[in-house]
């Protein structure tokens, strides 16, 4: 070390230390030495100071606390000579942070160096500020730094440091760089030829753009130019070419900057960029030289990211997926890792999931890779790509992998398996199987939340109880089982063991015997659980079992004096209670159902996962936002907002016929007008790209006749947009609201409402009696929509919770408002969304029916004849089985009718009815009151007269039977017609909900006879 012998000696000494203790002694000695020198020798030469300060840095690096001498390091900054100054700057930035008091003392010295004439001093000062400068520096130095950055007299070596220094100052205080004043200069900076200045300016740009992309839009074409320059290797000095590749780092950074612009509007810029990207995608070959290969693939992966971000044409996207598919199966581990990582990012893109699913076998292979980094990526990807269609396969793989996975991954793995099993279970018994297997395979890693959750499910689902009880009973036969398994089994057998009473080996006494065997193996927190189970077993033993009672009482007596208070108390209380007989029944009654809530597991994953964005879980979890989220509109503004339309009718109540005519007329005109406006469907495209399928706005089709008898308030129809302000300013909806609603009744995503200013899209997910609707409120115009209000008018049978709707929707932004739905009991009533907003001075309001209708709570179910007929027979007549002859039915062929039924999730069971003119169908209905309830239906058609048929509906709940029958009837009569002439809808008198009418069955009717035979 040039001229610092003392330092070299010290380093050698440290190196020769035999152990950590010796090292510590040597370090302590040196620290003492330095301290005395600093203290006593006031006239320490800069050379000596330099030497000591380096030693301090060295000691600090070794991990020892250096709590003195900071002042000396800082004071070197003002030393007159370069070598001392340099040490002062470097060591200060290593030892201190921005909050350190000593740093304030240096501000002036630093500023003097920055504005001084010596460019090497400028560099040192800029670097220090760039590394540790805080707010104070930002306020006092920003203008000077900006001046240096754009100065034409300044050499690149100073300017490149000024760029990153400014970046630091901007992060500390964003106000120091204002887009209005700086954007043009930034754009000019990007014309720079020097690649060093460009590299650091690009980092600055990334930060600025991420904060305000609109302000810096003028930089976008420049970035594309730089990329072109590099990709074509034009004017790139040799020293910036790395293994033949023009600065891969600048290429990567430039593509990163481009990813902060939501979109590229200018067609020629977009074209140039795509040319470059295409060239990178196609032209990157695998080469032998590792460094070259890595560098070119660094560029390639960034290009992939950019292509995904830009939502390129389908062709290019599939090129990307193909590349990734190739990468995940190569031998080179780095590329394999990155392939998996980027595929996980790709999951975010609509349409990509299906292609990614094709690679599932390869991804599963990666789950068994010897490298944990790769396995983690594979796990994340599998977790992200899991849905109902592949859940079984993926979860089974995870379970299998669990037994061989290293400990550090098991907890995460079991949590993920549990969540997937819960989220995507095709049936609940499978879910129970998975969780029990999970406990059996990796009990130590199964947190309490997981087994609490399965207990919750079993308690809330009666059908599941005997299954779960028999399943845990099987596990109890195993010789060694995990304590968690003992807990679940004890709980479930205590509650539901009696459901198995008739099976061999499942009498109360036998259950007690097998559980009690486990007691010596469990820890004391589990014993109280077992005691409760014993008490319940005793209560359920029918007829009372004296022998069992004796045994259990013995156990209670034994624990009466346990030192564990919980155990003791339970033993004493259960013993006393069990002597009282009837009181025991009350106290130990079956546990009530748990209130439904969001799975605590998912929350847990969010907490556990620290790797933020990276993890697909987190992304997924955040796709289910708990609050409204404002999104920037990525689409270009390529048209003026459609002009206001003067309404041709006002929202006066009209009688049926005239209403249908007058209504369809203006709507027809409107649709013509709409097709002439280029931007009218812009938000539609936007919603489309949001994975929401916009319904085809079929202008030719005719709207459904609106019938008051439907029991739906009149004002919710298309004419109901009642402007509060001046009639002349009335805003007309685009498209037919009723049709949109009807379409949404049969599918789960699409547009609910649209007018020239706003589009409301809906996306829904249904699961049992729960539903989640997300309303996408998209502002189509370039000014904000204010006073936005959304109120839900819920019918009595639905519980609805709408998250906060923001008061304002920013220009061309989209806001998401999730809406939680819970179905309490069967009803055809419809929830209404009372929506209003202000555009300029005009107030627009609409009452919109929400597609949370009866059929959404149906789950398709296909039965075999062995399953169907016993049920059909057991539901023998009104009020559980209702029959009605329906006339005025829209003529449909049998296959058409089958499709119709299947579309609202009432599944046709083909071949069950011997008469080919008849259909039988089945479905499951979910509501809180009925829980899963089987529904059966039979339709007897008359081949001679297709406008009438006989409908029979049966279920275990009279209200449900009635409501479902009425619902099917509505569908048969009132579906949108092919031609307007064919609208002879026969109003069906609605009966009061509480008293389902018993329709008279004509005993002479041959159809009725047949029904009796069925």
């Amino acid at each position: 070390m040039s001229g610092m012998r003392g330092l070299s000696v010290f380093i050698s000494d440290i190196r020769n230390c035999q152990n950590k203790e010796a090292e510590r002694l040597r370090v302590d000695k040196e620290l003492g030495n330095i301290r005395t020198c600093f203290k006593n020798d006031k006239g320490l030469t800069p050379y000596k100071k330099k030497k000591y300060v380096w030693k301090m840095l060295y000691i600090h690096m070794l991990g020892y606390d250096v709590d003195f001498g900071h002042m000396e390091a800082v004071s070197l900054i003002s030393a007159p000579k370069y070598p001392e100054k340099q040490v002062g700057y470097i060591v200060t930035s290593c030892l201190l942070n921005e909050n350190h008091d000593f740093l304030r003392l240096a501000i002036n010295a630093v500023r003097n160096d920055i504005i001084g004439r010596n460019e090497t001093y400028q560099c040192l000062a800029l670097t220090l500020v760039g590394n540790i400068g805080g707010r104070e520096f930002a306020e006092s130095l920003a203008p000077d730094v900006q001046k240096l950055l754009i100065s034409s007299s300044c050499r690149p070596l100073v300017r490149k440091k000024a760029a990153l220094c400014l970046l630091r100052l901007f992060r500390k205080n964003p106000d120091v760089v204002n887009a209005d004043g700086w954007a043009d200069r930034m754009a000019q900076l990007l014309d720079e030829r020097d690649l060093g200045v460009l590299t650091s300016s690009m980092s600055l740009l990334v930060s600025l753009v991420s904060n305000d992309y609109e302000g810096y839009s003028s930089c976008l074409p420049k970035c594309v130019k730089i990329l072109e320059r590099l990709a074509r290797n034009q004017d790139v000095p040799q020293e910036y070419t790395y293994y033949g590749i023009p600065s891969p780092w600048l290429q990567v950074k430039t593509m990163r900057a481009l990813q902060y612009f939501p979109t590229i509007e200018d067609p020629s810029t977009r074209r140039s960029l795509f040319e470059v990207l295409q060239r990178i995608l196609m032209g990157t070959d695998v080469v032998k030289n590792v460094n070259k290969n890595n560098a070119s693939h660094a560029v390639l992966f960034e290009a992939l990211s950019l292509v995904m971000h830009l939502n390129a044409e389908k062709e290019m996207m599939s090129q990307c997926v193909a590349l990734l598919g190739k990468f995940i199966s190569v031998r080179e581990p780095n590329i394999r890792y990155l392939g998996l990582e980027n595929m996980t990012r790709m999951l975010m893109i609509t349409d990509a999931q299906d292609i990614i699913k094709k690679h599932q076998p390869q991804i599963i292979t990666s789950l068994k890779d010897p490298d944990i980094s790769i396995r983690r990526r594979a796990l994340d990807l599998l977790y992200g790509m899991c849905d109902v269609s592949n859940a079984k396969g993926i979860v089974e793989e995870l379970l299998q992998y669990l037994s061989t996975a290293e400990f550090s991954m098991r907890e995460e793995l079991s949590l993920k398996a549990a969540i997937l099993a819960e989220k995507f279970a095709p049936d609940l018994s499978w879910y129970v199987d998975v969780i029990l297997q999970l406990i059996d395979n990796a009990g130590d890693f199964v947190s309490d939340d997981i087994w609490f959750r399965v207990v919750q499910f079993v308690t809330n689902n009666e059908d599941l109880q005997p299954y779960a009880a028999s399943k845990v009973r099987e596990y109890m036969d195993k010789i060694a089982i995990h304590e968690t398994m003992v807990k679940v089994s004890a709980y479930i057998l205590g509650e539901y063991g009696h459901l198995l009473a008739r099976r061999p080996g499942c009498s109360a006494r036998e259950l007690f015997g097998i559980l009690h065997e486990k007691l010596p193996t469990v820890s004391s927190p589990t014993i109280p659980l077992l005691l409760s189970t014993y008490a319940k077993l005793l209560m359920h033993a029918q007829p009372p079992d004296i022998e069992l009672q004796k045994q259990i009482w013995n156990v209670f007596k034994k624990y009466e004096s346990s030192i564990d208070v919980e155990i003791q108390q339970r033993a004493v209380e259960y013993f006393e209670l069990s002597k009282k007989g009837a009181a025991l029944m009350d106290v130990l009654a079956e546990m009530p159902k748990f209130p439904e809530r969001q799975s605590s597991l998912i929350k847990k994953v969010e907490d556990v996962e620290d790797t933020a964005d990276q993890s697909a879980i987190k992304l997924r979890a955040q796709q289910l936002p708990s609050n409204a989220l404002v999104l920037a509109d990525p689409q270009p503004v390529n048209g003026t907002p459609p002009p206001l339309k003067v309404p041709s009718i006002s929202g006066i109540k009209l009688d049926h016929e005239s209403a249908s005519q007058t209504q369809s007329q203006p709507n027809g005109d409107l649709s013509k007008a709409q097709s002439q406006i280029p931007s009218a469907d812009l938000v539609g495209e936007m919603v489309d790209s949001l994975a929401i399928e916009a319904p085809p706005v079929d202008m030719g089709s005719h709207q459904r006749v609106y019938r008051e008898e439907d029991g739906i308030p009149d004002e919710v129809d298309g004419t109901a947009i009642v402007p509060i302000g001046d009639q002349a300013n009335k805003v007309e909806p685009i498209g037919n609201i009723t049709e949109r609603f009807n379409a949404l009744c049969l599918k789960d995503s699409g547009v609910l409402y649209e007018d020239p200013y706003i589009q409301i899209g809906v996306k829904a997910e249904w699961r049992g009696h729960h539903g989640r609707l997300v309303l996408f409120l998209g502002n189509k115009v370039t000014s904000p929509l204010t006073s936005v209000q959304a109120l839900i008018l819920p019918p009595a049978h639905l519980k609805l919770e709408l998250s906060l709707v923001p008061d304002t929707i920013p220009p061309r932004a989209q806001v998401q408002c999730p809406l939680e739905v819970m179905n309490i009991r069967p009803s055809r009533d419809v929830a209404v969304l009372d929506f209003s907003y202000k555009f300029g001075t005009s107030m627009v309001s609409a009452k919109l029916r929400l597609p949370a209708v009866l059929n959404k709570f149906l789950q398709p179910l296909q039965l075999t004849s062995e399953e169907f007929f016993p049920q059909w027979r057991s539901l023998s007549g009104p009020p559980l089985k209702l029959q009605e002859v329906v006339r005025g039915v829209r003529p449909l062929s049998l296959p058409e009718m089958e499709n119709l039924f299947n579309s609202f999730r009432v599944t046709i069971c083909p071949g069950l009815d011997p008469n080919p003119n008849n259909l039988v169908a089945s479905t499951t209905f979910y509501s809180e009151n009925t829980r899963p309830m089987l529904c059966l239906a039979r339709i007897e058609t008359d081949p001679a007269d297709r406008t009438q048929l006989r409908l029979t509906v049966a279920s275990g709940d009279s209200t449900l039977t009635f409501e479902l029958k009425e619902f099917i009837k509505e569908q048969l009569i009132a579906i949108p017609m092919g031609s307007r002439a064919l609208v002879p809808a026969v109003p069906v008198p609605a009966a009061p909900l509480a008293q389902p009418p018993s329709p008279a069955v004509d005993a002479n009717d041959p159809g009725a006879m047949l029904a009796g035979l069925l």
Binding site: T120, T199, P262, H297, A298, N311, L338, D610
Partner: protein, 163 residues
């Protein structure tokens, strides 16, 4: 598309909080786990550094050549490369371009090679200040400043001449 832009949006939120900075630290550690150089671009207390270095070194040292060069640790991603007895480890944000960082390590090694001529662990140990000078020319505030070896080395060469 929209999910993606939300992702960007969240990124924006994060950068507003000043968290995104690319390179968070650079470590050079030998096979025995002794630190030869440590440069942090975010402030960590000494205890945090000690713990972090210990955990990372243990993780990386346990890996073999057939495994990839990336290790996930807490909210960092470690990109590492081994040269003879010395490990170069760079901690980055999780969405940094990993291969670009991997080659940046190589660029750093080539630069040191150019200066020292066949650089070895001892060169870095006994010329810690030079290693710091080079790093200072290459990285600032967690961002890459310069990738031209000639430009990186010119201030050091100037200084050597002056002596």
């Amino acid at each position: 598309m929209y999910v993606y832009s939300r992702r960007r949006r969240r990124k924006i939120e994060r950068s507003e909080r000043g968290r995104k900075m690319g390179i968070r630290f650079i470590l050079m550690v030998n096979k025995q786990g002794q630190t030869r150089l440590a440069q942090y671009y975010e402030w960590l207390t000494l205890e945090e550094r000690r713990a972090l270095e210990g955990e990372i070194v243990r993780k990386c040292l346990a890996r073999n050549d057939q495994q990839c060069s990336f290790v996930e640790h807490r909210n960092y991603k470690i990109v590492y490369r081994r040269y003879a007895s010395l490990f170069f480890m760079v901690g980055v944000d999780d969405d940094e371009n990993e291969l670009a960082i991997l080659e940046f390590i190589h660029l750093l090694v080539e630069t040191m090679d150019k200066h020292f001529g066949n650089v070895c662990e001892l060169d870095i140990m006994f010329h810690l200040e030079k290693a710091h000078f080079m790093l200072e020319e290459m990285v600032m505030n967690g961002c890459i400043v310069e990738t031209s070896k000639a430009n990186i080395l010119s201030p050091i060469q100037l200084m050597d001449k002056a002596h």
